[in-house]
Amino acid sequence: MGLVDIAFKFGLILIIFLISLVVAMYSTYAERKIAAFFQDRIGPNRAGPFGLLQPLADGAKMFLKEEIIPTNATPFLFIVGPSLAILTACIGSAVIPWGQQITIGGHIVDLQVTDINVGVLYIFGVVSLGVYGVMIGGWASNNKYSLLGAIRAASQNISYEISMGLSIIALLMLTGTLSLREIAEQQHGWNWNILRQPLGFLIFIVCAFAETNRTPFDLPECETELVGGYHTEYSSMKLGFYLFAEYINMFISSAVMATLYWGGYNYPGMDWMLAHTGPTIAPIIGVVVLFAKTFLFIFFFMWVRWTIPRFRYDQLMDLGWKILIPLAIANIVLTGIVSATLTHFGY
């Protein structure tokens, strides 16, 4: 690995990091705007043209708010909570392949920070780590509502991680690899995994909603019951970090869904494009395609948020344990039988 490659790598990390932050920032704007459209309103339109500067104004407001650490809180852990939340949200993007290999001025650059051979599991680990930020913050606040929110977050995440893992196993039985790069390469052109794993994708997306604490599963921060849930005691940028982490999580899980099931950076006619536009432009189109898919998923997240009311807690647990897990196991068995039969008959 030469110096130039390392420089490209660092540039890529920086760019992905910045993109995550900017996407998260504008997700808050998009959320408010989309919510407004769904409710026949206009939404934020005062700061800049179409309200485009609204996220900046919100950020400035967050920074200028008073920093409060409650007297009976554990100060160190109170700060560690939101930091962990945003850290785990940001490192998830490391294994996502944003595009094919691109040639810039004779250098072949991988549009992926690192291609570890357990990429899917890495994402999983990061997701499971994400709950610590919520739990530590909720506990350190020394507040009943925060603690209840934290406990809800923990049990919800653990419950849905199981069915998420089981739904991925069915996918992995088909791909035969844990590397996200290889999974993306296998879906070349039209050969997307959603066509082979529709049920798996359905389970996965439901679990993704639960893991990112989005409505209809936003019980950890359920305002009607728990004041503000785990971030009741938080103010200023520490609160901002929690909110930000949620949006980054949404972005990353959208990108993961697009990569695992919806073909990632692949699109029909990509070979023709590669032949006609060369190895620099074609991968960039792939990146654009992946981002388009990701944004569609983010839109779907918001669409669902403004449509479906929140689940009750026992309903949430019932759905996770009694419906999704058996369904995911059935999916695994079905996938196994079908793929074994197909191999037997020589397909």
Partner: protein, 175 residues
């Protein structure tokens, strides 16, 4: 950059991480607050993950990460948060328990010392295949050479699960 350079880096990282592991595990048992103790345990497990990565056992590293840090310790933390951790609810241990603790610890110490004595003579283990820890190789080993223990352990887990379900459903009938 020769091979020696990397070995050196690896060795010093290893010593540093090993130091951290021991440091955090001591903090686990000395921390006054049980929740802090669990948090130190999380850090200890995180250093274990780094150890696995240093040994090029990526699969084990990530599984340790997911299962221990991501699930088991979350459950630990979860239950600890629900327990009332007042100072006066701490039970006073009778003398016999303390004595048994010291006695058991002493025996463990003797056993460790004895085993350390015999370890010094053997050669350090050299890994035949440095890529053994990668998923593909690990899967092949697990499902060929060690298929029987693997399946037996899965049956063990299943029985534990069935037992848990049984315990959970029994309560509702009597109540």
């Amino acid at each position: 950059m020769g091979q020696g350079y990397f070995v050196n880096i690896n060795m010093s990282t290893f010593y540093f991480i090993a130091f951290l592991s021991i440091f955090f595990s001591i903090l686990v048992i000395t921390a006054k607050n049980p929740v802090h103790s669990i948090l130190y345990l999380i850090l200890t497990f995180f250093t274990f993950t780094i150890h696995y990565i240093l040994m090029n056992a990526q699969f084990l590293a990530i599984v340790n990460f997911i299962v221990y840090m991501g699930a088991i310790l979350v459950l630990f933390l979860y239950t600890l948060m629900l327990i009332n951790l007042n100072k006066d609810s701490e039970p006073v241990k009778p003398f016999m328990v303390k004595f048994a603790g010291v006695f058991g610890g002493g025996i463990l110490m003797v056993a460790l010392a004895a085993s350390l004595k015999s370890i010094g003579a053997s050669n350090p283990v050299i890994l035949q295949n440095p890529d053994l820890g990668l998923v593909k190789n690990l899967g092949k080993v697990l499902f060929n050479e060690f298929l029987l223990p693997f399946e037996i352990s899965s049956v063990l887990l299943l029985s534990a699960m069935v037992g848990a379900v049984l315990l959970a459903t029994k309560d509702t009938k009597t109540a």
